[in-house]
């Protein structure tokens, strides 16, 4: 992997379009569906002030931005991030607190967003992978993951990175064995554990 920008005539220049947006737009266009940003239904929705029966309104600070959301109380923080705010960097793996793919930082502490009800985060500060760095200025842990090739398929990586940041901040890992133990809430099916360990160590010792 490399983080250098490479020219490739087959791939359009990234003008702030995410891979997901690109795929969505391409699929819609190929199916002959026109996308209108301001459809009548959206205008009607914008006028609705009262939450639907049984729903509630919560406020969050997500990646530094204030967000107000209307949610069903059953909504997990993970689903609120992905489905309501379209922050799809945070991944849904097991959805049961066992794999760690959904790890985010709530009030600077790493938690499993799949077992966190969004309703309980009212007033909280949430940081996801999207809030850590930019393509031009990566977070040190993101940079270290690239340098040490700490992933293969990348599905667990947003969770691994958020968990690593939490681990480093907590400050309890003194040895390699400690880091492995304190990263045990994040499963990597590709088995990049040794490289994840190297990445965490580099930032921890920096």
């Amino acid at each position: 992997m490399t983080n250098k920008k490479e020219k490739n005539s087959l791939v359009p220049e990234n003008n702030g379009t995410t891979r997901r947006e690109f795929i969505t737009h391409s699929a819609a266009l190929s199916a002959g569906i026109a996308i209108t940003v301001s459809s009548p239904s959206k205008k009607i929705l914008d006028k609705v002030k009262q939450p639907a029966t049984g729903h509630m309104v919560i406020s969050l600070q997500v990646n530094g931005k204030a967000k107000s959301l209307e949610i069903d109380p059953r909504t997990t923080l993970l689903d609120a991030l992905r489905e309501k705010m379209h922050l799809t960097g945070t991944k849904k793996g097991c959805d049961r607190g066992q794999c760690g793919a959904c790890t985010v930082l709530v009030n600077n502490t790493r938690v499993n967003s799949c077992l966190t009800l969004a309703a309980m985060c009212d007033g909280s500060k949430v940081t996801t992978i999207e809030g850590l760095g930019t393509p031009d200025k990566l977070h040190p842990v993101q940079q270290a993951f690239l340098k040490h090739d700490a992933f293969q398929c990348g599905y667990c990586t947003p969770g691994q990175i958020c968990s690593s940041i939490g681990l480093i901040k907590e400050g309890h890992a003194k040895t390699d064995a400690d880091i492995r133990e304190l990263m045990s809430g994040n499963i990597c099916r590709c088995g990049a554990y040794q490289n994840i360990l190297d990445a965490v160590k580099e930032v921890q010792n920096a």
């Binding site: 059953r74 607190g97 499993n112 077992l115 009212d122 309890h172 045990s184 809430g185």
Partner: protein, 329 residues
């Protein structure tokens, strides 16, 4: 997940009243267990009361030397508390052997005590389970029962209690402080959880509306020499097949005091008082520990797939006794 109403309580009274007035209401603190169970349609509370705004987040050393742990103290904060590490290492080790760092950052002290079993039949709504659906039968007794209990079982249920923290709490004679609709009361930890008997769905003595406010750990100077050993199928992030919390006071090679509790092998956090009594006055050494371990497991009843558990529990206990008492033989 079934729909529910969500209330955020501002104080203990508001939480207790809301829960007492709506049968089936559950409090939510960390949510690590109940949200999982709600997704599986195993827990179906009509109402959740968010108690995270209540002032139950402190760890205090009382004037009598006891430690008072607020019900909302996170497992990670308790595990890394300097007083807990120095005075009750078994408690810190038990907490750190449970779950993952993310889950420990969420899970609360009060909630940990109320954890439901990890019996796979309890989780599988397609199978009978007396704990989940009273009277439907126990699938584990004649099923695959490798992880199940060998102590405290009944013909209705052989599910293990999953908490590591609670094993240390049992050994330390903790006290559970509860506030309910009729006021406050204190429950000895060993009386808090119930054996399954004919009513495995009733896991503790709490009544509707009862809120655990704190857990108190009595001063126990010799608990500074204590440990928690956990044996499981993988090195981390797994429930116990067998575990032992041990505190030992040894003077001149003779055992003066002992505390023993077992996890992973019983239907509730299992205190082994008879084994403690056996140790007192004896010479600290492996032969003594082996005999004490046999006393601790003498009432074990095994099932086809968990017949290894009494021996595993004995060896786990012997190892914990060796770690705390040394071997003078």
């Amino acid at each position: 997940m079934f729909p529910f109403t969500f209330i955020k309580a501002k104080n203990n009274k508001e939480a207790i009243t809301a829960a007492a007035n709506n049968t089936g209401t559950k409090f939510i603190g960390g949510g690590t267990n109940i949200v999982d169970l709600m997704k599986m349609n195993i827990e179906k509370p009509p109402q959740l009361v968010d108690i995270t705004s209540l002032g139950l987040k402190k760890i205090e050393v009382l004037s009598n030397g006891n430690i008072l742990i607020g019900a909302l103290v996170k497992n990670s904060d308790l595990a890394y508390d300097a007083t807990i590490i120095s005075k009750y290492p078994m408690l810190s080790k038990a907490l750190l052997s449970g779950a993952s760092p993310q889950l420990r950052n969420m899970a609360t002290t009060g909630g940990n005590v109320l954890q439901r079993t990890r019996c796979y039949y309890f989780f599988d709504t397609a199978t009978p389970c007396n704990k989940r659906e009273p009277g439907s039968g126990c699938s584990a007794i004649k099923g695959y029962n490798r992880m199940h209990a060998v102590l405290g079982t009944s013909s209705s249920c052989i599910a293990t209690h999953p908490s590591d923290m609670s094993v240390a709490m049992a050994a330390l004679d903790a006290i559970v402080h509860v506030e309910g609709i009729n006021g406050e009361r204190s429950i000895n930890f060993l009386d808090f959880h119930l054996l399954p008997g004919d009513t495995p769905e009733k896991e503790n003595v709490l009544q509707q509306g009862d809120l655990i406010t704190s857990i108190e750990i009595p001063s126990l100077p010799f608990a500074s020499n204590s440990t928690y050993i956990k044996v499981r199928d993988r090195a981390s992030f797994e429930f116990a097949l067998a575990s032992a919390a041990v505190a030992l006071e040894v003077s001149g090679g003779t055992i003066k005091n002992a505390r023993i509790a077992l996890g992973g092998v019983a239907t509730k956090p299992w205190r082994a008082k008879e084994a403690e009594q056996y140790l007192i006055g004896k010479s600290a050494g492996t032969e003594t520990y082996k005999a004490a371990a046999s006393v601790a497991l003498k009432d074990a009843t095994t099932y086809p797939y968990n017949s290894f558990k009494p021996e595993l529990a004995k060896r786990t206990l012997i190892s914990a006794l060796q770690n705390t008492g040394g071997n003078n033989e």
